[in-house]
């Protein structure tokens, strides 16, 4: 007879995003191996697990085999954990267990001393968790693979016997792979997390992958992560279901003429792409919206990869758009950065922190085309998909500009790097030559869940702002059909 398996008990790590991938956390009372190359964040993972446990009433022992206890305390402090205070409160014990390599070896030995020390500390603070940082350092003393294995199994059994949820970290040097002599670690542990720190297109990126998890399901992909001010942050975007909010009510674009074309304006919580060749007025159109939204008391976060805040404000002034009051009243936050300055993960965490702190109603990203300079097209795609996904999840409107180089036809080309599925509306700006004149035209290429004009409208950028004449022909009304099909999700 088959019975339904009972889910195994788990301990949440409280590491942002990781518990989702682990479907709840690490296996309670079992061994988890976190392995990775130098600088991949193994120690940080262990520290976070231990400190969050200590705060949640599960004291823990941190055994450091490589770094000095003082260095570990400093490391923790930089992530916002006051280890010394937790130690004083009897919630954490740090055991500095370092071998100096000057010892003379005569005959066989074992790690009973370490177990005695750790055991003593466990008893003293009634620990429920143990982290052993840099196991490979301990194993190295044995210099004999068979002995290493035996001692490690002994340690593993010893920890399990005491019902301790434990994280062992180990260095591996080959990319994504355990060193052959440590392969048995993967077999021994119930849960194996591989941390990978690599360089793609000259930009450092970090990836986390769960290799195995006995008795539990887990996210099987590689997940990008960053080590920020608050420790590890993971972006498990590739969840099966989309949790975007339904598109919201209309919000004015700041231009009556454009509002008319869009049957009322942009939809809240939607992603709008403004596309066009250089100089067609993409930034001006985005800033017109910012000015209007901020005047209405809403907050806008402007992510600019093209120019500095001052340059943007000055340029907009000459187009009749004054962003200074919005900045003064803290309704507008401009975050600028060179795309090359950091990897796409770094940019993402920076944007997310701003979103968390500033809580904007609208996010403007200028420009999609610049994001490729974060490293590669894949990096830009990851960044944009994740950003849009997170922004939509929170019901924030996302306006993106994209600079294109020529005439375009398909959606694919409009968005530049093929993420058109998350784009709800596309506004195309272009120049048209007429005799000796060059004029601007705007066209709504698509507007999901809303009626929109199908005409190219002329517009002008004057010293008083953008001027679009009110639509001579009202938008084709297909709202009923569209709203049930796309807009009602």
């Amino acid at each position: 007879m088959r019975v339904r398996g009972r889910p195994i008990p788990k301990v949440p790590t409280q590491i942002s995003g990781l518990d989702e991938v682990l479907e709840g956390g690490l296996p309670r009372g079992r061994t988890t191996l976190a392995s990775g190359g130098p600088g991949s964040g193994k120690t940080v993972l262990g520290l976070e697990f231990l400190c969050s446990g200590a705060m949640a009433g599960e004291p823990g022992v941190f055994v450091t085999l490589e770094e000095r206890a003082e260095a570990v305390r400093k490391n923790a402090l930089s992530l916002g954990w006051d280890l010394a205070a937790l130690e004083k409160a009897g919630k954490v014990a740090v055991v500095e267990a370092r071998l100096y390599g000057e010892e003379v070896i005569s005959g066989d030995f074992d790690i009973s001393g370490l177990l005695a020390i750790v055991g003593g500390q466990i008893k003293r603070i009634k620990a429920r968790r143990v982290v052993i940082d840099a196991l490979d350092v301990l194993l190295r003393v044995f210099g004999d693979p068979r002995r290493e294995r035996n001692e490690l199994y002994r340690l593993h059994e010893w920890l399990i016997d005491r019902g301790l949820t434990n994280v062992l970290t180990a260095k591996v040097h080959r990319e994504g792979d355990a060193a052959p002599q440590y392969e048995f670690l993967d077999f021994m542990a119930d849960c194996v997390i591989r941390l990978d720190h690599r360089v793609i297109g000259q930009v450092a990126t970090r990836r986390l992958r769960v290799i195995k998890y006995r008795g539990s399901g887990f996210g099987t992909n590689e997940y990008p992560y960053v080590i920020g001010d608050h420790g590890i942050v993971l972006f498990p975007l590739t969840k099966a279901e989309l949790t975007h909010q339904a598109l919201g009510p209309k919000v004015s674009t700041g231009l009556a003429g454009l509002d008319a074309m869009l049957a009322g304006g942009y939809r809240r919580a939607s992603c709008v792409l403004i596309t066009g060749t250089s100089g067609t007025g993409k930034t001006s159109l985005a800033c017109t919206f910012v000015q209007s939204a901020c005047r209405a008391g809403e907050r806008a976060l402007y992510l600019s990869f093209e120019e500095s805040r001052e340059a943007m404000v000055t340029a907009m002034l000459s187009a009749g758009i004054d962003l200074r009051p919005a900045l003064r009243r803290r309704k507008l936050m401009v975050q600028t950065g060179l795309p090359e300055a950091m990897g796409s993960d770094g940019h993402l965490i920076r944007a997310l922190q701003a979103i968390d702190d500033f809580k904007p109603n609208h996010v403007i990203l200028d420009a999609v085309s610049a994001c490729v300079r974060m490293g590669s097209e894949q990096a830009a795609f990851d960044y944009l998909m994740r950003l849009v996904s997170i922004v939509k999840e929170r019901g924030i409107t996302c306006i993106m500009t994209n600079q294109i180089t020529g005439l375009v036809g398909t959606d694919e080309e409009l968005s530049g790097i093929g993420f058109s599925s998350v784009v709800d509306a596309v506004i195309q700006l272009r120049f048209v030559e007429k005799g000796r004149e060059i004029n601007r035209q705007v066209l709504i290429v698509k507007s999901r869940g809303s009626a929109h004009s199908n005409l190219r409208q002329p517009f002008a950028i004057t010293s008083l702002g953008i001027e679009i004449p009110d639509s001579p022909r009202p938008p084709v009304d297909r709202a009923g059909q569209a709203d049930t099909k796309d807009g009602g999700k």
């Binding site: 267990a97 010892e103 005569s106 074992d110 790690i111 009973s112 001393g113 005695a116 020390i117 055991g119």
Partner: protein
């Protein structure tokens, strides 16, 4: 030593023999069981057991293992018998 594991017992036997043969009446030995006294292990950073620490005369020396390699032990303790 750590409890009465085989390595700890072997180390005691080997150490007694060494004292009998080379250090009779010239040494003081303190035996600490780290299982009973983990603070002592913590203080002297004893992770590997058994371990023998030569406290005096200086310089301090740490010998790890059950002391069955007599030659290495003699050399580590700077006993003349260790030199060929």
């Amino acid at each position: 030593m750590a409890g009465d594991g085989p390595n700890s017992r072997q180390a005691l036997v080997n150490l007694r023999q060494l004292c009998q043969e080379h250090l009779k009446g010239r040494c003081t030995i303190e035996i600490i069981d780290v299982v009973k006294n983990f603070r002592a292990a913590l203080k002297d950073n004893i992770l590997i057991t058994p371990a023998l620490i030569l406290v005096a005369p200086l310089p301090k020396v740490v010998v790890l293992g059950n002391l069955s390699d007599r030659q290495k032990l003699l050399l580590a303790l700077r006993l003349p018998e260790g030199y060929p």
